[in-house]
């Protein structure tokens, strides 16, 4: 996997961008056992453009205002064959919102099962998904289910 970036929100409406390539982003000040993956429509359309909302972070959809909530890119190697994939998952309009709650059992650490995630991705049939819609929503729901 080359990129794994996603937005994580607290109950109070603050967001951070978790980037698997940046271990510094793993230190999350947790005060609650409930966390949100992805942003709600208000955060998506706030027009803040600063901090975690800076388009520079590569998570901003310029042509269809909103943020990529989950960015996944990489190559799946199967039977000596390479299958590149690129997923820009997001969307805040009903019914394809990518915004969901996770309940933590343990507030000291969060585990994401990436093996499970890879199995869920439709890499053979849809190696690229870059727009909101049912496919985007399905991948997002799958991602949330990988939090343990």
């Amino acid at each position: 996997m080359e990129t794994l970036k996603f937005y994580l929100g607290s109950n109070s409406g603050d967001f951070i961008l978790v980037d698997a390539a940046d271990t510094g982003s793993f230190n999350i000040p947790l005060s609650d056992s409930i966390l949100w993956i992805g942003m709600d429509s208000i955060a998506n359309t706030s027009g803040k453009l600063e901090g975690v909302f800076d388009p520079l972070l590569g998570m901003y959809w310029a042509w269809n205002t909103g943020y990529i909530q989950l960015k996944l890119t990489g190559v799946l190697i199967q039977n000596h064959q390479n299958f590149p994939f690129e997923y820009h998952i997001g969307g805040y309009r009903w019914p394809h919102q990518t915004h969901g709650k996770i309940q933590l059992m343990d507030t000291h650490s969060i585990h994401v099962n990436l093996d499970e995630l890879l199995l869920l991705l439709p890499i053979q049939s849809h190696p690229r998904i870059m727009i909101p819609g049912p496919m985007s929503k399905a991948i997002f729901t799958g991602f949330i289910s990988c939090f343990e």
Partner: protein, 341 residues
């Protein structure tokens, strides 16, 4: 006496900053609706306006320093692009849509022909990063700006920041574009009792009220909705318009109702710039035989046929929406910090 005079001068100065269109800054014309733009988040100042203007005219925003915002948005044509049906950018690449005129943007609830962009501040990211427009990216643009002493100094002045960030760049550009207010056409003067329509213009205005103003609502001459224009998809460019944004098939081939202000000068017309003359557009809407594709119910449910005389009357009214003061406002002209003008 001196004190009174002092207050008077102060008042005049204040007025000149707040409402004087001569200095080019944003103002809200009398009886116009509340603007949508959030001025609290980005108050327009003289320095910010100048900085935005310099950026607007500076090809530094494009990947090879060849294309500026003004390449496709020229003042004398109401900041539209008259040479080409659709915009063109770096490496002579051609875009998919007709660059629209820029005016009265403070009242827009959203931007682009498909309404996909929700705020004026964020809009400018599109042309900067689009491969068919400026073909650059924010990292490169911010790097160039942060290594340019003139810009560093100006951004420091406006935003009090040693480092230029994305939102500084976007807010500066917006301070200029939000200030492009066009509200002094003959039509506006007529409304204010400062001018009188000719008989032909008045007849045209009556026709406009009967046939066009359901979508092209005064005083902005658009209702900002997305409508079917009856011209059908372009043979070369497949563009499904509003549906790209909403994902709803019902929105396929709907495009924003554009403003009619300065329409005389902002040709070509329609989202793909297909029509070169105002007459073509009027004839298209007036003649159901010309509709090759579904058309909005506002036009469909009405008898719109116009005689040749009526067409001329309507066009003569549309020309009263030309705002010469806007088109030739010195404050909107080319500006650069390097060339003192």
């Amino acid at each position: 006496m001196k004190a009174i005079l002092g207050y008077f001068v102060l008042l005049l100065l204040l007025l000149s900053v707040i409402i004087d269109p001569i200095n080019g800054l944003f103002y809200r014309p009398e009886k116009w609706p509340e603007p949508k733009y959030n001025f609290e988040n980005n108050p327009v100042t003289v320095e910010g306006f100048q900085l935005g203007k310099a950026l607007f005219y500076d090809p530094i925003l494009s990947k090879d320093s060849t294309i500026s915002c003004a390449s496709c948005h020229l003042q004398y044509t109401a900041f539209a692009h008259v040479d080409h049906p659709t915009s063109h950018g770096v490496d002579s690449r051609v875009g998919k849509r007709n660059a629209p005129g820029l005016m009265n943007l403070a009242w827009h609830p959203n931007f682009h022909w498909d309404g996909g962009v929700l705020g004026l501040n964020g809009q400018a990211v599109n042309p900067i990063i689009h491969p068919d427009e400026m073909g650059s990216n924010l990292e490169d643009v911010l790097f160039k700006l942060n290594h340019n002493p003139l810009y560093q100094k100006e951004f420091q002045k406006v935003f009090n920041t040693p480092q230029i960030k994305t939102h500084h760049l976007l807010k500066a550009l917006a301070q200029f574009t939000v200030s492009l207010v066009s509200a002094n056409s003959k039509y506006d003067q007529m409304k204010r009792g400062e001018a009188v329509f000719s008989e032909q213009e008045q007849k045209g205005y009556n026709l406009f009220l009967a046939h066009c103003n359901q979508c092209h609502v005064e005083p902005l001459f658009t209702n900002f909705k997305f409508k079917a224009n009856g011209i059908g998809p372009n043979n070369v460019i497949l563009d499904s318009g509003r549906a790209i944004i909403t994902g709803n098939p019902k929105d396929a081939f709907l495009f924003r109702v554009p403003t009619l202000r300065n329409v005389e000068h902002s040709f070509p017309y329609m989202h793909d710039g297909r029509m070169g003359k105002l007459r073509d557009v009027v004839q298209h809407y007036a003649n159901p035989n010309s509709w090759s594709f579904p058309i909005s119910k506002e036009l469909k449910n009405k008898e719109n046929t116009l005689s040749a005389f009526e067409e001329k009357d309507l066009i003569s009214f549309l020309k009263t929406l030309t705002d010469k003061e806007f088109l030739f406002n010195q404050q909107y002209r080319y500006f650069s910090f390097e060339i003192k003008n």
